[in-house]
Symmetry: C2
Subunit: 169 residues, 2 copies
């Protein structure tokens, strides 16, 4: 192998390393748009609940079922007192199937959780909120558009810092 060959092979190696670095950067940038699974949210404060039972309800698909809204300690004061939510707020929309039992709706398995996380710099393009969802009881993110579709609907609540729910006393 002469010097020229060695240099060519080195170039190839450098090129491959360069490609790898780009891929890692892209994956990282992609991940930055997601939201970590909100571990421990079932111990957080409960804001309100609602049961969408009729297919004719405009939100039945995909929100049919009994949902509960939870918030971490950082966001609770804003829910109670009004005003915008501080960075670090995490809100969880926990959607459950329901079963009819003798004239009552009881809670069934989880359909998915929707999550909003406030970070006014990171999620500047979507009102300061990142959006994500986790199917059933998994911890795998299932929102593929960086939360743009979620945000589209939440823009109607711009005056309430893009949050639909109100704290029930």
């Amino acid at each position: 192998m002469d010097l020229k060959e060695i240099l060519q092979k080195s170039d190839l190696r450098i090129f491959v390393i360069f490609l790898l670095l780009i891929s890692v950067t892209l994956v990282f940038a992609q991940e930055k748009k997601g939201i970590p699974y909100p571990a421990g949210y079932r111990g957080w404060a409960h804001i309100k609940s609602m049961l969408i039972f009729d297919e004719k309800h405009p939100l039945y698909n995909p929100f049919g079922g009994l949902h509960h809204i939870y918030v971490n300690a950082k966001g609770l004061t804003a829910y109670r007192k009004g005003g915008s939510f501080p960075d670090g707020t995490v809100i969880v929309f926990d959607l459950l199937e329901t079963k009819m039992d003798q004239g009552a709706y009881v809670e069934g398995s989880r359909k998915f959780i929707g999550v909003m996380q406030k970070d006014s710099k990171k999620f500047k393009e979507t009102g300061g909120w990142g959006f994500d969802a986790f199917e059933k009881d998994t911890k795998n993110s299932s929102v593929k558009d960086g939360g743009k579709s979620c945000f589209n609907c939440h823009t109607s609540q711009k005056e309430k810092d893009y949050v639909f729910s109100n704290y029930r006393l």
Copy 2:
């Protein structure tokens, strides 16, 4: 007024004071059976929910509506891991009216809250639990029999330390 009369009046005063002391003691003993209003329970962990909507449901009267179960920090581990609840546990049954809106049940005003407080010495006669209820948004106790009627129904759950609800994951 001679000495005899003065003594008789003194006796009367002592008797009246004695009666007053007895009354205060009795009121105090009565209050000891009650439970303080569970201040701040809306920030506690949420165990589960259920909506009883049909009059035919055996518990519709008085439990018709959407109820949520909350527990204070002391009782949360027992809910999650099983076993009996430690003294100091407070469980709240928060019952709300519901309103129908476009094929959904939304939360209405509060009917009452039911409260269980664990104190194995103080409430020895009712499984170690004190029971009370507070109508609507008031903080006035409304259980008049020291919780015996509540306990009668809860005895069916003796194996679960007299608690009906199970923690929903």
